[in-house]
């Protein structure tokens, strides 16, 4: 009985350790670096300015 417990525990520990080797740590606090698209991500672009968006909606200028 004790043998089985030890074997199972060791097997579980071995298996549990494998995925952890490929993981990255995303936890913690993060802040945005707005070095690109600063206008779009900050104050916002001008009305009807969709430059860079691969939109399927035809761009129709405002009258």
């Amino acid at each position: 009985m004790t043998r089985n417990k030890i074997i199972c525990t060791l097997a579980m520990l071995t298996c549990a350790a494998l995925p952890a080797l490929a993981e990255i740590d995303l936890s913690g606090s993060w802040t945005a670096k707005n070095h690109e698209d600063a206008m779009e991500r900050g104050a916002g672009p001008n009305p009807d300015d969709w430059a860079g968006l691969l939109s399927t909606i035809p761009v129709v200028p405002r009258p």
């Binding site: 004790t2 043998r3 030890i6 074997i7 060791l10 071995t14 494998l18 995925p19 080797l21 490929a22 670096k33 707005n34 070095h35 690109e36 698209d37 600063a38 206008m39 900050g42 430059a51 860079g52 968006l53 691969l54």
Partner: protein, 258 residues
């Protein structure tokens, strides 16, 4: 003494298990895919991702600064120093064309932001070459113990590369090419005269992303450090889509303005 059979067999098992764990740890620690006990594999053979082929810019970010020449004084997003603003405010593309400095916005810290095509090939087992059709520039990424030659700073600088391999269970499952570039000739981060100095250092991380529709994207994260003209590291990511051939390859000369 209660379990004589268990003692003998469990010892064997534990030894086997320990051996397996040690072997696994050894695989984790191996660099660049070298075989155990054998010589390390050359960077070309050990590449965890395939960056070779033709790539086209996907300009969905900073469109207004990349697809058209931005207006003088439009420097949004770049953490410039006061000295940099002074230089950028004096930007004169006509003067640069006249003096033959029209390639200043095609240097290593800016070249990937220029819309166009890239062609990546292995020059040899230790060197990955990147060519651009826009501006006809060539960058070389040197793996291993490469020593930069003596000489003046250049537009594309001296680039040292290394693989950062991600492993799971001892197997390489993904990877990143990290490139560090120094010895750069001064140039522009943006077409409208945002400067970087000869003290600039560029670090890039090349990653691949597989899209659901089968497209392969290359995402390059660039970190530009310049103690003279940047208040903090300038961090951007640039995207490229893999092409099946060279149909879109249209070499063109540098231009100070378009």
């Amino acid at each position: 003494m209660r379990y004589p059979i268990f003692k003998a067999k469990s010892m064997q098992f534990m030894l086997l298990l320990a051996g397996a764990m040690i072997a696994q740890t050894g695989l984790q620690a191996q660099g660049r895919g070298g075989g155990r006990g054998g010589p390390p594999m050359a960077p070309k053979a050990a590449a965890p991702i395939d960056l070779t082929g033709y790539w086209v810019s996907v300009v969905t970010e900073d469109w207004r600064y990349r697809m058209v020449t931005p207006a003088p004084g439009d420097y949004q997003g770049v953490p410039m120093t006061a000295a940099a603003v002074k230089i950028a405010d004096a930007w004169d593309p006509a003067k640069e064309e006249a003096s033959g400095d029209q390639c200043k916005s095609y240097g290593a810290p800016a070249i990937l932001r220029v819309p166009g095509n890239l062609h990546l090939t292995w020059q040899d087992d230790q060197t990955l070459k990147m060519e651009t059709d826009a501006g006809k520039q060539t960058r070389t990424f040197h793996f291993g113990n490469w020593k930069a030659p003596e000489g003046p700073a250049t537009l594309q600088g001296d680039s040292v590369a290394q693989w950062e391999v991600q492993r799971a269970g001892g197997q390489a499952v993904n990877g990143t090419m990290k490139v560090t570039t120094n010895h750069l000739k001064a140039g522009y981060l943006r077409k409208n005269g945002v400067p970087y100095s000869e003290n600039t250092s560029l670090t890039e991380y090349y990653d691949l992303v597989k899209e659901r529709n089968g497209d392969t994207l290359m995402v390059v994260t660039s970190v530009v450090t310049d103690p003279m003209y940047l208040r903090e590291p300038f961090i951007i990511s640039t995207h490229f889509k893999k092409l099946t051939g060279d149909a879109g390859w249209h070499p063109s000369e540098c231009s100070a303005k378009w």
